[in-house]
Every structure is written in structure tokens, then in C-alpha cells.
């Protein structure tokens, strides 16, 4: 989409499109189009949604106590042994997640740029939006918040960066989590970031059906309920953990 980057020089009255060129293989050809980028955003979004759901359910073992959560961490590490080497499943998941995040963010950035050019410099002096909701309007912001949060979350509990989580110790999963969630600043970051994720999912989990063209009178009315349910489940389910530590139910 280099075409919309030079808008003002077009002759007015008889706009002509550049010649459509189709080259390369199916996927590069598809990715060059905005719709192709939207498909990839939807698919990478589905991958990330599946991960965030499994991640949350697994981590609910926090409520079962120290032994349960730490055993779960070791189980994940050894998942698939001896067929898959130790850490194999974890690293395979990480690679998939890095790819999904990369695609989601790069496509979003390219589409945002394209849309800014297509909207142009002329702004309405007055504009009353009739349909768009808060979640839709803030997708880019909630996306950036969640992206930054992921870096914090990794520094806090995966990498154990000293100034983020000073009590962090390798393999002491339960203690690390409780130490983080007991810190009000850290707990606040988790709560706010997951509220942002909930908003992002409220629009994204519905929007993906439209982008993929999954539209049918048979299930259309379920799409909004699916998005609401998924967004609330993830936001409430994740926020419950730092809240439980803060109020003293866990830890």
C-alpha cells in the first residue's frame, strides 16, 4: 500500500487508480492488501486469545497454594518429555507468541499509517460519532498499554529483573507471584493492564469475525455475547489474582 501516500497531487474530477499489479506468492500478495493485514491481525489475535485463556486458567493454581502452582510450573517445563526435550513446549509456545505479537503489532502499525493517510489532513470542525464505543475508539491505546505491560510482566516474573521484583528467585514461582502482587504498585499495574486488555478484547473478539468474514444470520447474535463473555472472563479472572493477594486471601 504505497499508493495512498501521495494523495494531493491527483487531478480533481477524474481520479485514476494505479495499475493493479499482482505478483509474488499467495501470502505476500495477500499481505500487501489491507484486508490481508486484517486477516493476519484476526488470526494472530485468536492465537493470543487462546494463550491468554490457557495462561489464566493455569495460573489459577495460585488459589490452590504454593505446591500446586510450583508443580504446574515444573509440569510445563517437562511437558511432552521424553518426546520433547525439557523446556521444548515452553520455547515452542514462546516462538509462536513472539510471531503472533510481531504480526499483530506490525500489521496494526501499517494499517494505522494507511488510515491516517486515507483520512487526510482535513478535519471536521464538528463531528458526532453515532456508533463507535469507547473500546473501539481506544484500541490503539489499550493495545499499547497491553504491549508495554507484557514487557513489565516478563521483567517481573520471567526474567526477575532486580528493580522490578527484588525478591525474585528462579523456580520459586509462587513466592515470586505473591511478592509481586503484594506490592501495591505492581498489583495496580496488573489490575489496570488487565482492564485495558478487557477493553481491547471487547472490541477485538467481536471485530475478528467481521475481519475474517465470518458472518451468518445463524450465529451473528452470538458474536457480541462471545466478545463480552471472553473480555469479562479474562479481565475478571486475571484481576482476581492480584486482588486476592492484596486482600490477604492468598499469600
Amino acid at each position: 500500500m504505497t499508493t495512498s501516500s501521495t494523495p494531493p497531487s491527483r487531478p480533481v474530477g477524474n481520479q485514476q487508480p494505479p495499475k493493479i499489479e499482482r505478483r509474488g506468492n499467495v501470502l505476500t500478495e495477500l499481505y500487501r492488501s489491507a484486508l490481508g493485514k486484517k486477516y493476519l491481525m484476526a488470526i494472530s489475535g485468536i492465537v493470543l486469545m487462546a494463550y491468554v485463556l490457557i495462561h489464566m486458567i493455569g495460573n489459577w493454581k495460585l488459589f490452590e497454594g504454593e505446591a500446586s502452582l510450583n508443580e504446574y510450573a515444573i509440569w510445563l517445563r517437562e511437558l511432552g518429555e521424553p518426546l520433547i526435550p525439557e523446556y521444548g513446549a515452553i520455547w515452542a509456545t514462546r516462538v509462536i507468541l513472539i510471531l503472533a505479537f510481531g504480526v499483530h503489532i506490525i500489521a496494526a502499525a501499517q494499517l494505522t499509517r494507511m488510515n491516517q493517510l486515507a483520512r487526510g489532513s482535513g478535519r471536521y470542525a464538528e463531528r458526532h460519532y453515532a456508533a463507535v464505543d469507547f473500546a473501539g475508539r481506544t484500541m490503539r491505546w489499550t493495545g499499547v498499554i497491553v504491549g508495554l505491560f507484557v514487557v513489565f510482566h516478563l521483567a517481573d516474573l520471567t526474567w526477575g529483573v532486580q528493580w522490578v521484583n527484588p525478591q525474585w528467585e528462579y523456580l520459586e514461582v509462587y513466592d515470586n507471584v505473591v511478592a509481586s502482587f503484594a506490592n501495591p504498585v505492581s498489583a495496580g499495574i496488573y489490575i489496570l493492564a488487565n482492564a485495558a486488555l478487557g477493553l481491547h478484547l471487547y472490541h477485538g473478539a467481536w471485530s475478528l469475525f467481521q475481519s475474517m468474514g465470518w458472518n451468518s444470520p445463524r450465529f451473528n447474535h452470538w458474536r457480541r455475547w462471545f466478545a463480552i463473555g471472553f473480555a469479562v472472563l479474562i479481565a475478571v479472572g486475571n484481576i482476581s489474582m492480584p486482588v486476592a493477594v492484596q486482600v490477604g486471601l492468598v499469600g
Binding site: 500500500m1 499508493t3 495512498s4 494523495p7 494531493p8 491527483r10 480533481v12 474530477g13 477524474n14 481520479q15 485514476q16 487508480p17 494505479p18 493493479i20 499482482r22 499467495v26 500478495e29 495477500l30 492488501s33 489491507a34 484486508l35 490481508g36 493485514k37 486484517k38 486477516y39 494499517l111 494507511m114 488510515n115 493517510l117 486515507a118 483520512r119 487526510g120 482535513g122 478535519r123 471536521y124 470542525a125 464538528e126 463531528r127 458526532h128 460519532y129 453515532a130 456508533a131 463507535v132 473501539g136 475508539r137 484500541m139 472490541h203 467481536w206 471485530s207 469475525f209 467481521q210 475481519s211 475474517m212 468474514g213 465470518w214 458472518n215 451473528n220
Partner: protein
């Protein structure tokens, strides 16, 4: 009634524009919005001032020529109406109304309130038709179409190409227009032979002028013909199939 109008005036497409305030007096409430602008232009002409350029043709809501951003709402405050069907009984004496042209890179301003919508013509040329052999007209109902499909295709075919969807879109996207134009043919038997080629050509042409959809639904809310964003999903599906299955030609 007497009104204050804040109207965008722009002498040429490549010169900057600005708002100018005008008083228009003696507007009857039975007048349409466009007749009110006619009255303003008469009063401007009598004073020797340059009339405001705006577009209109049928003035009965079926041609899609008129289209103004009125107080921040495409086609004004009434739902499912084109600007020409908006009547002055929507306003009261002394109201101030802000009138702007559609604003999008794909719709450059020609002058004042008139914008160049020829990009829509390019989209239609890319696939908004069916190739038919000429000859005698076929018998009616020779190709059976079930009622539900016919009704749905007709909903898409109600698009008058006014451009309110692009004007309303925060991304300057034309996906509702393109979706309607593709769906009205791709839903029917007559549209099947060129179905995937049509979807690919329309989308690739559309993206040369307009932005991409973020599923906000502003287009659907602005559409004077109440066309559903379901047709955007239709377009997305046919484009995906066209590209992934290699069913497009050329």
C-alpha cells in the same frame, strides 16, 4: 425562520478553505435542506456575493449526489435520510448550523461543499457490473432466486453511492460502499461467474484510494439507506477466498 449558517468555503481544490458565517432569512419549515441552501444562494446573488457550491440532482433520496456533513453528522440529524430529504422542520428559528463537505483523502474538495467522488466510479469499473452476452432480454424468472436471497441482495443494491460511509469513517474507508456493490452481485446467480475476480478487483482498487476498516460501524449509522456492515464481512470473505484459492484471474 432565520438561521445562521457556518459554511466551509474553499475556492479551489488546491487552495486552503475556511468557514464563513451567513444569515439566511425567511426559510419555510416545509423547505428541504437543499432548498434552504438555494434560498441562501439567491440571497447571496442578490447581494452580489458568490453563491455556495453544493451538489444535488434528484432531490428525492435516490441518486446519491447530495451529501453534506451537517453539524457533525453525515446527511444531518435524521436517520436513514439523504441531505435532500432532511427538512427544515428539524430546525428552529435562530439555530446555527455548521455545514462541511465530506472529508477524506479519497474525496478531494472540488469547491466549497462539492467533493470529487470519481474514486467510486473507479471501484464500479473494477467490478460493480456483470458481463452479459448481448441479445434479446432473457425471460423474467428464467433463473430462480429464492426470496430471502433476493431481499438481501436488494438491501445491498439500495446503495446510492453518496459517500456518507467514507465521510463517517474515522479511517476514510469505503468498505461499506464496496461491500454493498460486491454483495448485490455476488449473492445472486448472475454474479457467480465473476464472483472472486470481482471481489479481488474491487478491493484492490478501493485500497488505492481509501483506508481500511476498523469495524467501528460509523458507516452503517450514517448510511441513508441503512446498509448493514454484514456486507463488509461478505466482502472480506469473498476477497479471502479469491486470494487464497487463486480463484481470481488477472
Amino acid at each position: 425562520m432565520d438561521l445562521t449558517l457556518r459554511i466551509w468555503r474553499q475556492p479551489r481544490h488546491d487552495t486552503p478553505g475556511d468557514f464563513v458565517s451567513y444569515q439566511v432569512t425567511g426559510v419555510p419549515e416545509e423547505a428541504s435542506f437543499l432548498e434552504m441552501l438555494d434560498l441562501l444562494n439567491e440571497q447571496l446573488s442578490e447581494r452580489g456575493e458568490e453563491p455556495v457550491v453544493f451538489e444535488s440532482d434528484c432531490r428525492e433520496g435516490i441518486c446519491g449526489t447530495c451529501g453534506l456533513m451537517i453539524d457533525g453528522r453525515p446527511h444531518g440529524p435524521w436517520g436513514n435520510t439523504a441531505t435532500c430529504q432532511l427538512h427544515m422542520r428539524a430546525y428552529a428559528d435562530g439555530d446555527e448550523i455548521t455545514i462541511e463537505p465530506w472529508r477524506a483523502t479519497g474525496f478531494p474538495v472540488i469547491k466549497d461543499l462539492a467533493v470529487d467522488r470519481s474514486a467510486f466510479d473507479r471501484i464500479i469499473e473494477a467490478g460493480g457490473y456483470i458481463s452479459t452476452p448481448t441479445g434479446a432480454a432473457p425471460d423474467a424468472n428464467l433463473i430462480p432466486v429464492d426470496k430471502a436471497t433476493a431481499d438481501r441482495a436488494f438491501e445491498a443494491a439500495a446503495c446510492i453511492g453518496c459517500g456518507a460511509c467514507v465521510a463517517a469513517c474515522p479511517n476514510g474507508a469505503a468498505q461499506l460502499f464496496a461491500g454493498a456493490k460486491v454483495a448485490q452481485l455476488n449473492m445472486l446467480p448472475q454474479g457467480q461467474p465473476e464472483r472472486y475476480q470481482r471481489a479481488a478487483n474491487v478491493v484492490d482498487t478501493m485500497e488505492a484510494f481509501f483506508g481500511s476498516c476498523t469495524n467501528h460501524g460509523e458507516c452503517q449509522a450514517a448510511c441513508p439507506k441503512d446498509i448493514s456492515i454484514d456486507f463488509i464481512a461478505w466482502l472480506n470473505r469473498d476477497y479471502r477466498k479469491a486470494k487464497l484459492s487463486g480463484r481470481q484471474a488477472g
